[in-house]
Amino acid sequence: MRRAKVFSGTSHPELTEHICERLGITPAPVALKKFGNQETSVKIGCSVRNEDVFIIQSGSRNINDHLMELLIMISACKGASASRITAVMPYFPYSKQSKKKKYRGAITAKMVANLLSVAGVDHIITMDLHASQMQGFFNKPVDNLYAEPSIAKWIQDSVPEYSTGVVVSKNAGGAKRVTSLADRLKIDFALIHTDRTRVLRNNSTTTVTPVNEVSTEESISISDEDKNFSFQTSNTTSNNITFAIINDKKYDDEDDLPSSSTSFSEEPLFSEENELNCSNTITLVGDVAGKVAFIVDDMIDKAGSFIAAAEHLMKRCNAKRVYVISTHGILSNDSLIEIEKCKSIHKLVVTNTFPIPLENRHQSTKLEIIDVSATLAEAIRRTHNGESISYLFYTAL
């Protein structure tokens, strides 16, 4: 590629290597480090004047650091007179926060889009955005690539009896994604539904976590708005502390709270007792008996909801085998180990858009990683040459 430079952030050097290998170039030199006070420092190691610059940076565990790094790199290239700067973000950070939740939520994905634009980005290449509407957050062109062709190819190559299989969505929000894959593979689909309100009613023995920051008045208004939280005032404490009962948070992936949430502790929810209580309210719409089931979603962060879905499919619905498939394998905390222990899940299939540390990969025998670097590399090549990339939406490379 003439007059093009590909830079790599520190989030996912392995993916950059794969991409550059496909493009037949070496990553352009850049020195990325941190000052003693934790500020990020970027030194572009070659001239980018009038060059077509691509910066590859995915999300990662240190998401804020890597986002900042990307912004600084973009800004540095802009200041160094690059002719065009394309951010290649296989996993778009904060993409789950793409809409206002029912009360006062920030649309952080939109803010990230604004930050990128302000830093000076001219073009974005990303993959399987949580909501494709996010392309509208930018005033710049966004190419949202799909992992679906690669995933479909993997299923066709690796699962012999896939043609009698069923693609399953583990929540209603993902139904559309799943039907698209089912159509491509020409197989049936089903849907798992977890009823949160009914969970609330059935589930009396929930973990109680003190919430001191929330005043009584406000907590009542929140309980009106969101069924996931119900608040009660404890009679046993004298100083009128408000208690929060958080139900079923682990199944509630669309509205996931961050795991390091300051006001609510989620950890106690992973108790056995809770799991048993909640799994009663899972319903499967569709039929998987005697068939191979593919639970498909765009990202797998915590494993709880996937495990619950897989258990339900195997134990109550008599599925033959369960594959968990998702594009972005975020797999935070001990998700990999939990999945490893879960007998109901046969394989976990993710793509390499999100970095999974080597030592974690060794923990799991069920993990399969699909390489999507070819799709990303081809998108970069076509973008550079001004060719159409529509071809990549339907074809696995």
């Binding site: 206002k100 209603a172 139904a175 009106d224």
Partner: protein, 320 residues
């Protein structure tokens, strides 16, 4: 001294709704003359002072959609240049909301363009209802309050559908599954899903029902009914699968093209739409259409916005 009172203006798209909203708040609609020059340009004359006032402009995205949008933009701009303190566009049905993503190569994101146009013309705040995708809120750099018809729908189901306890909530496509499950949860009912399946190339797509409706009343739930093609095929499928009756509840009843003819076919018991879009004339030729009045929700949202109160209450409650 400024009074900073509510001024409600109405465009030509849905005067009736604007009047309902204004009467709920207890004010008269402010004077505005919106007409067209002979060369089809829209002309707006604001008939009273808006200096330092809190202006709400009610205009729905329906009928002559481009004319109505242009009218709204010009009205916002007219109020802006007339020194209004704050201008809130109340858009019950957001125009171009379905063009919210690049679903095909080179597709324009027109909803984003509309958002930009509203912001550029000077809107400080947007109130809308049941956006096709709530991500559209992120297209704006100004606050957007996306109200829900759901509480009104729930109320309707509980009061107007006699055997609702024996009902199934059905989504006519996979994209609407989330909306349907939310209603099903609130009513403690089961739900099912219809999927247009393309088994093989060149084969006519067929509808597949995921779930069981045999011997039940089926309530189809969607955010929009345009030509009603999908809705009727869905109703037909449900009837074939043994549903006793099929109701459809839809937030925005655009009802264009052959919609009235297909609704009059015997598959659908009743089609319930909200009055975010005017449909009185259609109601006269099609007795199956029933209306949910959402003006109380809009009026309350306007009142609360004006007074700086929280609107969250309206997300789960339908005011009288």
């Amino acid at each position: 001294m400024s009074t900073n009172s509510i001024k409600i203006f109405a465009g030509n798209s849905h005067l009736e709704l604007a009047q309902l909203v204004a009467s709920k708040i207890g004010v008269d609609l402010s004077k505005v003359v919106v007409l067209k020059y002979s060369n089809q340009e829209t002309s707006v004359t604001i008939g009273e002072s808006v200096r330092d006032e809190d202006v709400f402009i009610i205009q729905s995205g329906c009928g002559e959609i481009n004319d109505n949008l242009m009218e709204l933009l010009i009205m916002i701009n007219a109020c802006k240049t007339a020194s209004a303190r704050r201008i809130t566009a109340v858009i019950p049905c957001f125009p171009y909301a379905r063009q919210d993503k690049k679903d095909k190569s080179r597709a324009p994101i027109t909803a984003k363009l509309v958002a930009n146009m509203l912001t550029v013309s000077g809107a400080n705040h947007v109130i809308t209802m049941d956006l096709h995708a709530s991500q559209i809120q992120g297209f704006f750099n100004v606050p957007v309050d996306n109200l829900y018809c759901e509480p009104s729908m729930l109320k309707y189901i509980k009061t107007e559908i006699p055997d609702w306890k024996n009902a199934m909530i059905v989504s006519p496509d996979a994209g609407g599954a989330k909306r349907a499950t939310s209603i099903a949860d609130r009513l403690n009912l089961d739900f099912a899903l219809i999927h247009k399946e393309r088994k093989k190339a060149n084969e006519v797509s067929r509808m597949v029902l995921v779930g069981d409706v045999n011997g039940k009343v089926a309530i189809l739930v969607d955010d929009m009914a345009d030509t009603c093609g999908t809705l009727i095929t869905a109703a037909k499928t449900l009837k074939d699968k043994g549903a006793i009756k099929v109701y459809a509840i839809v937030a925005h009843g655009i009802l264009s093209g052959k919609a009235i003819d297909v609704i009059n076919e015997p598959y659908l018991e009743r089609l319930v739409v909200t009055n975010t879009i005017p449909h009185e004339d259609k109601k006269r030729v099609c007795p199956k259409i029933d209306t949910i009045d959402v003006s109380p929700t809009l009026a309350e949202a306007i009142r609360r916005t004006h007074n700086g109160e929280s609107v969250s209450f309206l997300f789960s409650h339908a005011p009288e």
